[in-house]
């Protein structure tokens, strides 16, 4: 009998559990849990009506600034501008409340409203607000900018940067500039001039007169200076150009020394470059203002195209020390280097991402050129483009877009600037007057 007692107890527990808890569970099922793992990747529909002109003199700016905002957002590949003829609601006043239902109907997920006025001192005042249509709420605070009328495009870029940043969570890149080599004339007598323009190809200005071949310009970290290589003396030599004053000075080189492929360090005071003497090319570092060069590599191989990591502690460069052109990383003070490129083909012109997580490069394999990215340790290599000749990648300030040179084949082939998202999508030609090569993206303008 005592043996049966535990059995009876267990049966009783089971009976109670089954008899009482079952209906209880049925009546409080708890939240339904599902997992979403597949989404869509498509441009977000955004409505950017023409801004409201609060003064008669601002009418042109109101229309044009809104157009700049639309072009910036659409050009990023992440947004799709809803055409104005699809609008149901109209923005008649900047401060009037938004009728969200009008914008939901046309599937606008974000709405940008703005106004432009000309102040008594002649300055342009631009206000804007961003709304999350489906949440029926403003997305962040409204902002107001004031600047001279000649800076109206920059104000459009500023608005677009703010919209981009609030929606994507990343900083923008629209209010930035690109320095590049403008090419004109026949291929065998091409005139190359150092040029600067807005990131979207507007406001091109020439910094050199084309009397000497110029190559590979690179912005300083704050965008006030440009390093480049010039053949003004017959030898390639590195120069520093002050963008504000348009004055240039040679970095300084020894007799019969060729210097090229320069790049600023993150502090803006150091420059790394390649130096070639006696048929050997190595990498050196020196202060921009002058000083003794420090040798960072010392091998019989050709080592060039150095690029600092954002923290300034490491340098990625290309070298053919293994027999073919590959990518290596070494300390900013030189020393042993670790090869990071392991795929087929030849790798060159590495550039460290401003975020520090990726390295962009040019790859030549099986007769094709590619722009690609890889992790700093060489893993997860992805080729973003493929053509007859793609080379010279340059990162956008936010590390999301790469601009590079694409040259077409044939005697009439011409170099042009292109940009591509690091996902490999949104390949676009950057408009330039005539040909263009060697782009270098500036940081975001202040």
């Amino acid at each position: 009998m005592t043996r049966l007692f535990p059995v009876i107890r267990l049966l009783a527990i089971g009976f109670v559990a089954l008899g009482l808890s079952a209906p209880a569970n049925a009546q409080s099922p708890g939240p339904l849990r599902i997992e979403i793992t597949e989404g869509v990747i498509e441009p977000m529909p955004v409505a950017v009506p023409d801004f409201i002109a609060e003064t008669p003199a601002a009418a042109r700016f109101a229309r044009d600034i809104a157009e700049v905002v639309r072009n910036d957002l659409v050009g990023s590949g992440l947004f799709r501008a809803i055409p104005s003829n699809a609008f149901i609601g109209q923005i008649s006043s900047f401060n009037s409340p938004v009728q969200y239902s009008d914008w939901k109907t046309i599937n606008a997920q974000a709405l940008v409203t703005g106004s432009v006025s000309v102040a008594s001192d002649g300055k342009l005042v631009v206000k804007f607000r961003l709304f999350d249509v489906f949440s029926e709420a403003p997305l962040g605070q409204g902002l107001q900018f004031a600047a001279t009328q000649s800076s109206w495009r920059r104000m459009g870029h500023k608005v677009a940067d703010a919209v981009y940043s609030r929606i994507t969570g990343e900083s923008g890149y629209f209010d930035s500039r690109v320095v590049f080599v403008s090419e004109s004339g026949p291929k065998n007598a091409r005139v190359k001039r150092l040029s600067i323009m807005d990131y979207d190809g507007a406001n091109v200005q020439y910094l050199t007169d084309g009397s000497a071949i110029v190559l590979a310009p690179r912005f300083s970290p704050n965008g006030d200076r440009v390093l480049y290589t010039s053949y003004a003396t017959g030898f390639p030599q590195v120069y520093v150009l002050d963008v504000g004053r348009v004055t240039q000075t040679a970095l300084g080189a020894g007799e019969n020394e060729m210097t090229f492929a320069p790049r600023f360090g993150p502090d803006g005071r150091t420059v790394v470059y390649s130096s070639s003497t006696g048929g050997n090319t190595d990498i050196f570092r020196r202060p921009v203002g002058g000083g003794t060069p420090v040798r960072l590599t010392n091998t019989p191989a050709i080592e060039t195209a150095p690029s600092f990591s954002p923290d300034g502690n490491r340098i990625v460069f290309e070298s053919d020390r293994s027999g073919t052109q590959q990518l290596y990383i070494m300390s900013a003070n030189g020393g042993s280097a670790q090869r990071i490129s392991r795929g087929e083909g030849r790798y060159g012109t590495p550039v460290w991402s401003p975020r520090g997580d990726l390295i962009a490069f040019t790859k030549q394999n099986q007769g094709r050129f590619h722009i690609g990215v890889m992790r700093v340790d060489g893993t997860e290599e992805r080729l973003l483009t493929s053509s007859f000749l793609d080379e010279g990648p340059s990162w956008s300030p936010n590390g999301r877009v790469i601009m590079f040179t694409r040259e077409t084949a044939g005697a009439s082939g011409e170099a042009s600037l292109y940009s591509v998202d690091i996902s490999g999508r949104n390949l676009r030609r950057v408009p330039t007057p005539g040909g263009g090569s060697d782009p270098a993206w500036s940081p975001l303008l202040p």
């Binding site: 869509v40 498509e42 409204g142 020439y206 992805r382 996902s423």
Partner: protein, 321 residues
């Protein structure tokens, strides 16, 4: 017998007439042949054509392989005006953005009157039907003499509060007996599993249930919901960091299977900074709202099962690495 002969004769006759008139046995008309219009020319004109030489290059002159280089007078380079054009980089012209006040909320329903009605005078209550103020009736002025009453003494009062009821409560009471000390259970002793299980089961069973519950959602119904949300989950505009962030979003649903917007909340996340979590949550919220505008088409009889939904948005398979 002759009837058949007549019928046969008439039938055959009709057939022969139809064949002759209707053309049953005639061949269909062939399509008209292609016709090319030609122009007749004379022999003299033909001789004139033959006299024209064919356009063939017979005298080929080799071109010089490379033209000598010609130095052109290039125009003056379009150098920027140093200070005004490029001073933008030196001196920022756009100062820090000034935050603006939030936009006004949507206006309430329009007022009927353009100006507010004057406040009513004090102690005046609005009435459905206006009434004129009462006026004193002069006829009621006459005073009706009251009946004479006897003199009455004032109500009896006391100098202290005395309860009017009968004095039932005792003036004193004994102290309550102190609680008997219980024997403390031995910490080594385990609770009785039977009684514990019974207590728990009874407690759960007696918990009030919100509403009756139907059968749970089928796998197909859950998949349909998942696909509906996926169609609106756009990760294309998310930052790289946000695409490495998993967020769990809770939402309460109305009986019409539409999400209650105000109930959408973040209940958990994994990976990513606060900003990335916020971006991922916003994208998830947009997906839930957008695709739920027309309702998710869930079976109403199973409402208790989908009244609350927790959705885990995991972009691992979508992210840009």
């Amino acid at each position: 017998m002759q009837t058949g002969l007549y019928i046969s004769s008439v039938g055959h006759g009709a057939l022969i007439i139809a064949a002759m008139i209707g053309g049953i046995f005639s061949t269909p008309e062939s399509p008209p042949p292609d016709v090319t219009e030609v122009t007749l020319i004379t022999a003299a004109e033909l001789d004139a054509f033959a006299a024209i030489k064919p356009d063939v290059l017979t005298d080929v002159t080799p071109l010089s392989p490379t033209p000598p280089p010609v130095l052109l007078d290039l125009p003056e380079p379009d150098l920027p005006e140093p200070p005004p054009e490029l001073a933008v980089l030196d001196a920022p012209e756009i100062p820090d953005a000034v935050p603006m006040p939030p936009p006004p909320p949507p206006s309430p329903a329009p007022r009927i009157a353009p100006t507010p009605a004057p406040a009513p005078p004090e102690d005046t209550r609005p009435a459905d039907v206006p009434q004129e103020a009462t006026r004193p009736n002069p006829e009621a002025e006459s005073v009706t003499p009251e009946d004479p009453k006897e003199a009455e003494a004032p109500e009896e009062a006391a100098t202290e509060i005395v309860p009017e009821g009968p004095k039932l409560a005792p003036t004193t009471s004994a102290r309550p007996v102190s609680r008997p000390t219980r024997a403390r259970p031995d910490p080594e002793e385990t609770p009785d599993p039977l009684s514990t299980a019974i207590n728990q089961a009874v407690e759960e069973a007696t918990r009030p249930a919100p509403q009756p519950v139907g059968p749970p959602l089928t796998r197909g119904e859950e998949d349909a919901l998942r696909v509906s949300v996926q169609r609106c989950w756009n990760v294309g505009s998310l930052s790289s960091e946000a695409t490495r962030t998993v967020v769990v979003v809770a939402v309460e649903m109305g009986r019409d299977a539409k999400p209650i917007q105000s109930s959408i909340r973040l209940v958990g996340s994994e990976g990513g900074s606060d900003a990335a979590v916020n971006q991922a949550f916003e994208a998830a919220r947009r997906a839930i709202i957008r695709c739920g505008l027309q309702g998710y088409g869930l079976p109403e009889e199973k409402y208790a099962h989908w009244q609350e939904i927790e959705m885990t948005f995991n972009p691992e398979r979508m992210r840009i690495r």
